[in-house]
């Protein structure tokens, strides 16, 4: 029509702006979306509350995330550019981090300089160290809060980028990055509530930004989220058991006592090291000694000297010439301990066979390294087996105490000196007092339990924890060692705490005794100082370790076999067997291994079943929808609507569009053109029309006819499309993502 063509040009120009007007205006919902994203990030961060104390870190992290999002949104409302907002928001994040943590090193307080980077490096290092060292929930130290702030800045920036590029589904990545932190630190701690809140907010973000996303992104992300949340609980403990450092507290070189309880409670013990020895008695291998009691915990003496010649150790402190001893050696193979201390007997005289740089510390005769770890080392240590005589011990005093080994802080709870004096005041010598303390702690009603102090809130080696421990009379080696050391100091006997491994299980192999020491043999014990003899080991923990023969009552119980590696029933309270029973969960025998493998096969089957269930859920849902429609067809009423919805959904399943604004006739014609033949759909369309729009006396629809139409449509698609139509029918998403009309 020439007439209309003549007029088309000017009018089409007039139509243009009107069309633009009907579209979503740019910027609509942007603020709401940014707010939702900030809320989602804050919710994800809140999930960290299980790992950190207090709330200050949460406010800091949320403020940083909100600042980045605010900067991006402000820039976007001022500048119509895709390029600047991410730049500005990142710059804002960096500037605020600088202002908050290293303002004095920066230009104008916000522009980072190399000094700022160095400061950040230091802080981050201290944060990482602090994370590794601290027990959960940790104190949010400056470094940790900085790490959180950096994490939030990066995540907020990434989330904003995802929004800006119109892929809101991708903000799942930063959210997951935050959510995974508590899981990585301690699986089983994660708070499902905040996980769900985050998920809900995430869905809200998607809802606002929905038209912008491709269906595939939503499908893939949704699938990953669903599968991930189902499988993560299975996957995580495995990750933890195999990859996480086993004896985490030892690795840092600071204070193993704090995390010792956690290490013991971790369960699933592994072989830490094995050794053979020429000594008469099983050997206690020490990692380090802790001499300073602050009232809160035990700590090492800071700044002690060190020496590098491992073939010649200094003489043990206080060891006089009168004390008899045997020389003995121990050959150690370390398998799976990550630590910078070398497990060594006391008092060591030389160590050979080590690789890497190692040095000894003169006070405790401990061996450590800065660079090298003990893992995988094979070495021989020579040491002295002290055998002080009873006469020596009976007269031993403690006048020449090494510095700091008698110091107690102010405010020691009354129960500690009371108990110490009540137990030991009848004893004649210092040594007898020490023995009395040991006997008291090893006997009824004291019980060994790694869990009870945690449950009842007195875990630790501090004074307050000790007071509760002496009242409750239940705890594990840290409590016993600390209690005996503190009480010894109350009685004027110098004391310190050694951390290391108890002797472990003896096995007879290759003609000699091989001791296997597992991570559950990690132990703490007190060492007491006597003039002329030096430091002597005591074993106050019931059911653990071996009581040294100079430590048993030679008069009361002369027949006690003292060279047993495992405690003898006569020397131990009944709880000892319980304690051993706990640790015997270590799968050692083939039967146990087989059982464990069977269990893991069951778990795998369960996971497989869960995956299958998840994979088939959409198909099941689709089938249920179809059955519901067939029922509606049989019942009459809105049979036509049910039938035609099913036809349209089938078409959507194979990837065709089926807008609701299309009449059955138009749609059927289009489908017939796609199929290349009128076929069953033409006739069916006629029946549907008569049912939907005709007089009420129209013939009823038959489900068989519908099935024929479905077959016709499905047959036209290739195998892959049909498989997708079955497993992930796109029609299920139609309610949320309608076709463009």
């Amino acid at each position: 029509m020439a007439l209309t063509e003549v007029r088309t040009a000017p009018r089409a120009a007039g139509v243009g702006p009107a069309r633009r007007g009907s579209r979503l205006r740019p910027g609509e919902g942007r603020w709401a979306q940014a707010l939702l994203v900030a809320a989602a990030l804050a919710a994800a961060l809140a999930g960290l509350h299980v790992t950190l104390q207090g709330l200050s870190w949460w406010f800091v992290g949320t403020a940083y995330a909100a600042s980045v999002l605010l900067a991006a949104a402000l820039t976007r409302s001022l500048v119509r550019s895709a390029f600047w907002p991410p730049i500005v928001s990142l710059a804002a994040g960096v500037a605020l981090l600088t202002l908050g943590y290293a303002a004095d090193t920066a230009l104008l307080g916000i522009i980072p300089t190399p000094a700022t980077l160095a400061r950040f490096g230091t802080l981050v290092n201290s944060g990482v160290t602090s994370i590794v060292e601290q027990r959960v929930p940790a104190t949010p130290e400056l470094g940790i809060v900085l790490l959180i702030a950096v994490l939030m800045v990066v995540c907020a920036w990434a989330a904003d980028l995802a929004l800006a590029t119109r892929h809101p589904a991708l903000i799942a990545a930063p959210l997951a990055a935050i959510l995974v932190v508590p899981m990585a630190i301690k699986p089983g701690l994660a708070d499902a509530f905040w996980y769900l809140v985050t998920a809900a907010l995430y869905l809200a973000v998607l809802r606002i930004g929905r038209r912008r996303d491709s269906r595939r992104v939503v499908l893939v992300t949704g699938g990953i989220l669903v599968l991930g949340s189902l499988l993560l609980p299975y996957a995580l403990p495995g990750v933890d058991a195999r990859d996480a450092p086993r004896v985490s507290g030892l690795r840092t070189g600071l204070n193993p006592l704090i995390s010792l309880g956690d290490d013991l409670r971790r369960g699933d013990p592994m072989l830490a090291l094995s050794y053979t020895t020429s000594a008469q008695e099983p050997v206690y291998l020490r990692l380090t000694t802790l001499e300073t009691f602050t009232g809160e915990t035990w700590g090492p003496i800071v700044g002690s000297a060190q020496g590098g010649d491992l073939t010649r150790f200094p003489a043990p402190t206080g060891l006089g010439g009168a004390t008899p001893y045997d020389e003995a050696t121990v050959d150690v193979t370390v398998s799976d301990v990550i630590t910078n201390w070398l497990p060594a007997p006391y008092p060591t005289t030389s160590v050979t066979g080590l690789t890497g740089e190692w040095f000894w510390e003169p006070d405790g005769l401990t061996v450590r390294s800065v660079e090298t770890g003990a893992r995988g080392q094979r070495y021989q240590a020579s040491f002295l087996e002290l055998a002080p005589t009873s006469a020596q011990l009976a007269v031993a005093t403690s006048r020449d105490a090494p510095a700091g080994t008698l110091e107690l802080p102010d405010g020691v709870p009354e129960i500690i000196p009371q108990t110490a004096h009540a137990v030991a005041d009848g004893a004649a010598s210092s040594y007898d007092k020490a023995l009395a303390l040991q006997t008291y702690l090893r006997s009824e009603p004291f019980e060994y339990s790694e869990q009870a102090p945690v449950d009842e809130g007195f875990d630790g080696s501090g004074m307050d924890a000790l007071a509760v421990f002496l009242d409750r009379k239940v705890g594990y080696c840290v409590h016993y060692a600390s209690a005996m050391a503190v009480m010894a100091r109350e009685l004027g006997i110098p004391s310190r705490i050694a951390v290391g491994f108890q002797p472990g299980d003896r096995q007879f192999a290759d003609g000699s005794n091989v001791y296997s020491v597992s991570t559950d043999d990690l132990h703490a014990w007190p060492e007491l100082y006597f003039d002329g003899i030096g430091w002597l080991r005591f074993e106050p923990t019931p059911g653990r370790g071996a009581v040294p023969d100079y430590g048993t009552q030679p008069v009361d119980d002369p027949n006690t076999p003292q060279d047993e590696s495992s405690p003898t029933p006569s020397a131990l309270p009944t709880s000892a067997t319980d304690a051993r029973g706990d640790r015997d969960e270590t799968p050692q025998t083939p039967e146990q291994l087989a059982a464990q493998q069977g269990a893991s096969a069951l778990v795998s089957l369960g996971v497989l079943a869960a995956v299958l269930l998840v994979a088939l859920t959409p198909a099941g849902f689709r089938a249920a929808v179809r059955r519901g429609r067939i029922r509606r067809i049989r019942q009459g009423g809105d049979a036509a609507a049910a039938a035609w919805e099913e036809v349209r959904d089938t078409a959507r399943d194979v990837g065709w569009s089926a807008p609701e604004s299309e009449t059955p006739r138009t749609f059927a014609a289009r489908i017939a053109a796609e199929l290349g033949a009128e076929g069953a759909i033409g006739a069916f369309r006629g029946h549907v029309e008569a049912n939907a729009y005709g007089r009420p006396d129209a013939a009823a629809l038959s489900p068989a006819e519908l099935a024929a139409v479905r077959r016709e449509i499905l047959r036209s698609a290739d195998l892959r499309t049909r498989l997708r139509a079955f497993l992930l029918p796109p029609s299920l998403l139609y309610r949320w993502r309608p076709d463009d009309r």
Binding site: L3, G14, D638, A639, S661, A692
Partner: protein, 342 residues
């Protein structure tokens, strides 16, 4: 068409019509005869002829709008002539008076009384040529009779014959010497169509034909007026399901809510859309209306009643409004059942 037995004995609304509605084959035969007759005069405009026939059978009035010389009047006359009924034609001019259309009361000296002389409006089919050349006063005189199907002169009311259909032609509003029809008056036309130029082959065929004389002269009526009334009755009997009613209402609501429109479709527009759809369904051999009928007729029935949101300077014309109407129709979900769900 499957007629129910009782509908056959239904007596026509018109007193003159003894017969009831027609059966589907009878209806189709006659309707196609009319269209074929018109087609001998207007070549290659099948869709326009079909729409014009639809309006005639739906008891509506038709507005044919296009530039001069494309056969608007020819269409009107051919349609009128193919039915054996009274036909009048008014050529609208600026100096035409209302009484020139409706008729006047003159004093009869013999009877010593006023006597009404009916005007050209008293006819079954009234052809109003170039209706937008008349003054608004005259236009409104015609438009009143279109709606009321009666004429009031000097306090007396005179019924117009049944059926009464106005086929008005008008030049596009941009042309010189025209008074645009106000929207209230445009609203009274059931549909507006434009002829468009014939394609090359049809134009050549027309040239050859016209050399021998006008084919209009040779056109003979193919249906009687009684038959036409029966056909109209048949159309009235076409069934409209609640789903289709929902659909029409939804489309009308869509035009009222659209941001690009200042004025949407009136309730009269919905009524006429359904009536026209019934005629189209009957012409298609159905006894019930489909959403497809609505879709096909929505633009010609609705577009001329809409008013764009912005001033109608050069921005919005016929095509733009037609596009808006088409977009609204295309975006309205089609209900599939009485519940109105899609």
């Amino acid at each position: 068409m499957d007629r129910l037995p009782e509908s056959e004995v239904e007596v026509g609304i018109d007193a003159e019509s003894a017969a009831g509605p027609l059966s589907a084959p009878e209806f189709l035969l006659d309707a196609r005869a009319v269209m074929a007759a018109v087609e001998t005069v207007i070549d290659g405009k099948r869709d326009v002829i079909e729409l014009a026939t639809t309006v005639l059978l739906a008891e509506g009035h038709l507005l044919v709008e296009d530039v001069p010389g494309v056969g608007k009047t020819m269409l009107a006359r051919a349609l009128a002539k193919s039915v054996d009924c009274t036909v009048n034609r008014i050529q609208f001019t600026p100096d035409l008076l209302p009484s020139d259309i409706t008729g006047v009361s003159v004093f009869n000296q013999v009877a010593r009384d006023f006597e009404f002389k009916p005007g050209p409006v008293f006819a079954n089919i009234l052809i109003g040529d170039e209706i937008n050349r008349a003054s608004p006063k005259t236009q409104s005189a015609l438009l009143e009779s279109m709606e009321e199907r009666q004429v009031s002169v000097d306090g007396l009311t005179y019924e117009l014959p049944d059926p009464f259909t106005v086929i008005a032609t008008q030049n596009p509003v941009e042309m010189e010497g025209t008074y645009a029809l106000p929207e209230a008056q445009r609203d009274r036309f059931m549909a507006r169509i434009s002829m468009g130029y014939p394609d090359a082959a049809n134009e050549a065929a027309m040239l050859r034909q016209r050399e021998k004389g006008s084919p209009l002269e040779e056109l003979r009526p193919v249906v009687t007026i009684e038959r036409l009334r029966q056909m109209i009755l048949t159309v009235r009997e076409v069934f409209v399901s609640p789903a289709v009613e929902h659909y029409v209402v939804a489309i009308a609501a869509g035009t009222r809510a659209d941001r690009e429109l200042r004025l949407g479709a009136s309730p009269r527009a919905t009524l006429q859309l359904v009536r026209a759809a019934k005629a189209r369904a009957a012409l298609d051999g159905r006894d019930f209306v489909l959403p497809d009928d609505i879709d096909a007729l929505a633009v010609p029935v609705l577009a001329h009643r809409l008013m764009p949101a912005k001033s109608s300077g050069s921005g919005y014309g016929r095509e733009a409004l037609a596009e808006i109407a088409a977009r609204i129709v295309k975006s309205t979900p089609v209900p599939l059942g009485a519940s109105g769900t899609a």
